[in-house]
Structure formats: structure tokens, C-alpha cells
């Protein structure tokens, strides 16, 4: 249609009275131009647009992703984030003994936490973190309550906190930015990610967040069972029944199941660990509601066998200890969550055989593909 109009105008200009035509047609031409400039921008040369990164929703998973509007996923952004995630210079230090990246503690083989080798992880200064680590897994579905107490609203915000936290990077945005800017090869990665050579601390945080949002686990044995591809063993099935029945272990109200394959509600519960609440960084710290004292997030149970120690303070080394706790050692307080209805008996009172079945089921949430996915691993080359 546009070519047709231009063609007509050209032909008219070829005539004897071309000047008059031009005078009469000028406002019309202007209007046509306006109509296209207001509704159609195709006339202008298109600027470089990073390739969008599409997240495929696995079967049964939520369709709503928590991706901030100001940080859309791009292929280049994810790749930049992955490179930064594993780059030891990210903490703004250059001495070989003091380099630290996200991957120093968030290790893929432990579902992107540190495992039992360091119950309380510590950063560059050796000071322990307030809480045990949480794995980085399926965080693109976290509704905006990150950390054990949900006090962090976005992954981007978390990254910025890590940089300055004396128990983690103990660095500063200026030092980190200065270091990354000084590495020439990063400019191209930032262009691919954000269509701009400009490197800022916000973009560093955004790229890291984009990479973390790709860390999706959805191919465990249980996922395959949900999709009808495999059957669970009799022991695993008995464990699944215990997991999802109130008269059994009743794990599902907080930890999900067939209807919630994230295996967490991402909500906060006082699960009966203590009679006195001394940790200043529980859910109460965030909400100010006295009923939230001693409450912490119900963690995802995906790959849980690789993410010990357990609970916010890492008090349990093994899954067996955790099951024993829920079975016999719950403590009733005014803050106990009502969903802990077995509290009056001290717990769910599982027999040894039932405990074994329950653990067998929980281990169907092991996703080895996630633990070895090369897209989540360290790049072979750094800028």
C-alpha cells in the first residue's frame, strides 16, 4: 500500500503542472507520512534487538513467570549472566587467592548450593552467613519472596546484596563494576545482552538474574511419572501416599505434590523446631507479625538429597534426621502453624518402614539432568 502511494505521487510529479500538484498535495503527503509515523515504524532502520529467550513451561508447572518488566530475558543476557556467575573476578578482587564468584558457593552438583561441606557457608572474609544456603532451583516461579524469610523481592536485589554483604563478597558495586569494565571482552557480551556497550552494576545484576531464572528442574523421576512416562516403585508409591495424605505424613500442604510440582508453596511456616525464637532474621523480621516468629520458607524438595544440611540453621545433616524430627520431635508453641496438626502427638509418628518409604519418594525428586545440564555449567572460556 505504501509503495502504491509513492508510485502515484511520482507519476503526478512527472506532469506539466507538477509544481501546483506539489503545493496541493503537500499537506496530504504530510498526513500520509504522519499516519505511518504514528502507527507504523517500519520506515526507520531497525536497531539491534537482542534475541528473546523463551522459557518453555514444563508439564504441570505454573504458567506465570516472575520476570521483571524491566529485565526481559534475552539469549545474550542469559549467556552473559552465566559467564559472570562463574567468573571469579566478579567480586572485584584480582588476587588469585581472593577471587570469588556466585559459583564459589552455588555449586551445580548441589543444586546450586554448597552442600554439607560447609553447613554455614562463609564469604571472602570467613564470616558465616546468617542462614544455611537455599538452592537455586525453579526460582523463576518464586513470587517475590526470596531467602528463608522472604525479605528479598527479586533476584536482582539479591545479587546487589551479595556484593556488599560482609558474609559474602564483602565488596562494593564500584569495585565490581570497575573490574568487569576493565575486562575488554565483556563489552561484546553486554551488547548481545542489552544492545549497549554501557556496563552498569544494574546490568550485571540483571544478567545474573536472567541466568538464574533459567535454572529449571522439571525432569526428575516424579516428573516423568506425572507425564505418564514411568511408574514409581511400590516403595516410592507408598511414600507418595504418605506424602499426600493427612493421616500419613501430610507434607503436601506446604511442600506441594501432583498439583504443585514446584514442591514448595513458597510460603512461610513455623514448623515446630524451637520453643524460643532467637533468630532475628525469621519471617517476623519482615512482617512484624508476632505470629510469624520462628517461621521460615518451606523449601522446595526437588533435589533435596543434595542440598543438606537442612532447616534455616542447618541443624540437620541428613534427610533421615529431618524425617525423625517431623515424626517425633515437634514443639508446640502459640506460633506453630495450624497446618502442623500432628503437633499434639509430637509429630506424624511414622514407623521405620514408613520413614523409608517416604524418603524413597522424596528421592524421586532427584533431577540428575539438572545437576549436569551443560547450559547451567561453567563456560569453557571467559572474556
Amino acid at each position: 500500500m505504501m509503495n502504491w502511494k509513492i508510485g502515484k505521487l511520482k507519476r503526478w510529479n512527472d506532469g506539466n503542472s507538477g509544481k501546483n500538484y506539489c503545493i496541493h498535495l503537500f499537506p496530504v503527503f504530510l498526513l500520509i507520512l504522519l499516519s505511518f509515523s504514528s502507527c507504523n515504524k517500519t520506515n526507520k532502520p531497525e536497531p539491534f534487538e537482542p534475541t528473546p529467550y523463551e522459557i518453555e513451561i514444563p508439564y504441570g508447572f505454573p504458567t506465570q513467570l516472575n520476570i521483571p518488566e524491566d529485565n526481559p530475558m534475552t539469549v545474550g543476557g542469559v549467556e552473559l549472566g552465566r559467564t559472570l556467575f562463574y567468573d571469579g573476578r566478579l567480586n572485584g578482587r584480582s588476587h588469585p587467592d581472593s577471587m570469588m564468584s556466585c559459583a564459589t558457593c552455588h555449586q551445580q552438583e548441589h543444586s546450586f548450593e554448597i552442600g554439607t561441606s560447609r553447613p554455614h557457608p562463609f564469604g571472602i572474609t570467613g564470616n558465616p552467613t546468617h542462614h544455611a544456603m537455599l538452592p537455586m532451583i525453579n526460582l523463576v516461579w518464586n513470587p517475590g519472596y526470596f531467602g528463608w524469610n522472604g525479605g528479598v523481592g527479586t533476584i536482582e536485589e539479591d545479587v546487589l546484596g551479595v556484593i556488599s554483604d560482609p558474609t559474602e563478597f564483602d565488596s562494593s558495586p564500584e569495585k565490581v563494576l570497575g573490574t568487569i569494565k576493565s575486562i575488554p571482552g565483556y563489552k561484546e557480551l553486554f551488547v548481545n545482552a542489552f544492545a549497549s556497550k554501557e556496563i552498569t552494576i544494574d546490568k550485571i545484576a540483571k544478567a545474573l538474574a536472567q541466568f538464574v531464572r533459567t535454572l529449571i528442574s522439571a525432569n526428575s523421576k516424579f516428573d516423568k511419572y506425572m507425564r505418564g512416562e514411568v511408574q514409581l516403585s511400590p516403595e516410592e508409591l507408598r511414600g507418595f501416599v504418605l506424602f499426600t495424605t493427612e493421616e500419613g505424613a501430610d507434607c503436601f500442604h506446604c511442600h506441594g505434590g501432583f498439583g504443585n510440582p514446584l514442591f514448595t508453596t513458597n510460603k512461610f511456616y513455623n514448623n515446630g523446631k524451637d520453643s524460643v525464637f532467637t533468630d532475628p532474621y525469621d519471617r517476623y523480621f519482615v512482617t512484624g507479625d508476632p505470629m510469624d516468629k520462628g517461621a521460615y520458607k518451606a523449601t522446595t524438595l526437588r533435589n533435596i538429597e543434595f542440598t543438606g544440611p537442612y532447616m534455616h540453621d542447618g541443624r540437620f545433616e541428613t534427610l533421615e534426621e529431618v524425617i525423625d524430627f517431623y515424626s517425633h520431635d515437634l514443639i508446640n508453641t502459640p506460633q506453630i502453624d495450624p497446618l502442623m496438626h500432628h503437633i499434639a502427638n509430637g509429630g506424624i509418628q511414622l514407623t521405620p518402614n514408613e520413614k523409608s518409604n517416604l524418603i524413597a519418594f522424596i528421592k524421586t525428586l532427584r533431577d540428575e539432568e539438572f545437576l549436569s545440564n551443560p547450559n547451567f555449567s561453567s563456560p569453557t572460556e571467559f572474556p
Partner: protein, 281 residues
């Protein structure tokens, strides 16, 4: 001749261009001749005549249990307006299951999308929970509705309601109760094990809101309050005793039956709120 034809041509192009501008940039529909009515439902939660207070052990049911309420989450569905000539209008048929959560304010107000034809209506009814036909597993993939899922072994689909609280038990211990309603199970031999399940019982029920006749005129916006009187889940016609049923009832059909019977009697009521709502809100 050439000049005139130019004028005609330029006028035609001008008109055509204006048409393109208007048709491409302005998609608004022409105003309708008659303006229908609108309904907004507000869900509130009471204990008898008082607004419900949460996490306070201040209530007593007919069984003499002192109790507190921590949170309530539930579905109502198939809300119907029954008009005076026997016709029934199903509200928002394309989105006919509505979730209410006492912890999420946005769920406590439902602005019905459907226009309401002006006229007289005899009553309003709804299904408490979700009908068997519609209560399908994995139909809600996103929170908060997702977290209402009812385990497959126990019948699948979704809880009709979670009413969580605590009561002061006869052994003088404060214990949690999960008054959860949903699909019941039939167990053979009285053995409460999933292996013993021989059938399922659909416990959803219809609520006909008492004194719910109303008239709506052109362009009128009516704010209705649908009020849940929590106490009556435990009082009438059956006395529900937490000491008898304990903290969990998802696998106790007899307890859920009492709750569902009570739910049909004096739990829900409707009140017209005298709010001034600007048009379009």
C-alpha cells in the same frame, strides 16, 4: 481540468488518510444505546454479628470448643441469578470458579464482568466448592488457587475450603485444626488407608442465599456483601466437636458431611452495601 481533478484527488486522499488514521489508531466501540447493570460481590467473614478476628482464641462453638481462626481459603462457583420469570443467568460463565482468601485482599472483591440485564431477580445461588464435572486436577497451575489442590489418592481436584485454626482441646492443650472440605472417600472395612478406598463422594453443595431478591435498573451498580458466618460451620444443624474429630478431616467423610450440611444452613448470607461506585469501577 487538471487542477480540479487534483482537488478531487487530494480531497479523496485526505478523506482516505483520515479514515486510515481513525480506523488504525482508535478501536473504541460506539456507545451502546442501553446501559446494563453491574454487580460487585464483596466477601466478608464474621463470627455471628462481628467481623472475624484472626489468631485470637475468643470464639466458642455449640460443642463448647474455644477456638481461633487463622485463615480461610475457599472456592465458590456457578453463581446464578434467578429472575422472576424462571430464567437463570450463570455469571461469568467463562470464569465460573471464584477463589476467596482471607489473606489476599484482592480475592475478597469480585467485580462481575458480565453485564446484568435490568429487571427483577428472585434469588442468587452458588455452588460451594466445585462441581464434579468441573473439579479437574491441574486446572489451576498458578498460585494461589494451585495451592488448593486435593491429592489424587483422595479424589483429586481441589479443596472446596481450607479453614485453619486452633482449639483449646479437652486435655487443655491448644491444638491446630484443619477444617478442610473436598471430595470424600469410601473406605472398606473402616480402614483409613488409600488402598482401602472403594469410591469417592462429591461433597460440593448449592447455597441459595436467603433474602437475595433484588432489582437492578439501567446503569445501576450494586455492591453485594456475601457474608460467611464462621461459627455456623460448627453449630447448625449438627454440632461439630473438634475434640471428637481432631485436627484433620480430609479422610473423615463423616466429619466433612457434618461440615457440608452445616454449610447449607445459615453460614452464608447476602447484604446490599450502600457504596457509591463510579461507573466503570
Amino acid at each position: 481540468m487538471g487542477h480540479n481533478s487534483c482537488n478531487i484527488l487530494s480531497s479523496a486522499i485526505l478523506v482516505f488518510t483520515l479514515f486510515i488514521l481513525i480506523s488504525s489508531c482508535d478501536k473504541s466501540d460506539p456507545p451502546s444505546e442501553t446501559e446494563p447493570g453491574k454487580i460487585i460481590f464483596h466477601f466478608t467473614h464474621f463470627n455471628d454479628g462481628e467481623n472475624l478476628e484472626y489468631d485470637t482464641m475468643k470464639y466458642t462453638n455449640a460443642a463448647g470448643n474455644n477456638y481461633l481462626v487463622n485463615e480461610i481459603q475457599y472456592f465458590i462457583s456457578d453463581v446464578k441469578l434467578h429472575n422472576s420469570d424462571g430464567g437463570v443467568k450463570l455469571i461469568d460463565e467463562w470464569n465460573d470458579i471464584y477463589y476467596v482468601d482471607t489473606d489476599i485482599e484482592s480475592t475478597q472483591s469480585w467485580q462481575v464482568y458480565d453485564p446484568i440485564e435490568p429487571g427483577n431477580y428472585e434469588k442468587i445461588s452458588f455452588t460451594f466448592g466445585i462441581s464434579e464435572e468441573k473439579n479437574q486436577s491441574l486446572m489451576f497451575l498458578n498460585p494461589p488457587e494451585r495451592d488448593m489442590f486435593w491429592p489424587e489418592f483422595l479424589g483429586g481436584g481441589y479443596h472446596y475450603m481450607k479453614l485453619n485454626g486452633k482449639w483449646f482441646a479437652e486435655d487443655e492443650v491448644v491444638k491446630p485444626f484443619n477444617f478442610h472440605l473436598g471430595i470424600g472417600q469410601v473406605y472398606s472395612g473402616g480402614v483409613i488407608e488409600p488402598d482401602s478406598i472403594t469410591g469417592f463422594i462429591q461433597n460440593y453443595f448449592e447455597v441459595e442465599l436467603p433474602a437475595s431478591s433484588f432489582s437492578i435498573s439501567e446503569g445501576e451498580i450494586i455492591n453485594f456483601e456475601i457474608r460467611m458466618n464462621v461459627k455456623n460451620w460448627f453449630n447448625n444443624p449438627h454440632v461439630y466437636d473438634h475434640d471428637e474429630w481432631g485436627g484433620d478431616i480430609m479422610q473423615k467423610q463423616d466429619a466433612m458431611k457434618l461440615g457440608c450440611d452445616n454449610g447449607q444452613e445459615e453460614v452464608f448470607s447476602i447484604h446490599e452495601l450502600l457504596l457509591i461506585s463510579p461507573p466503570g469501577k
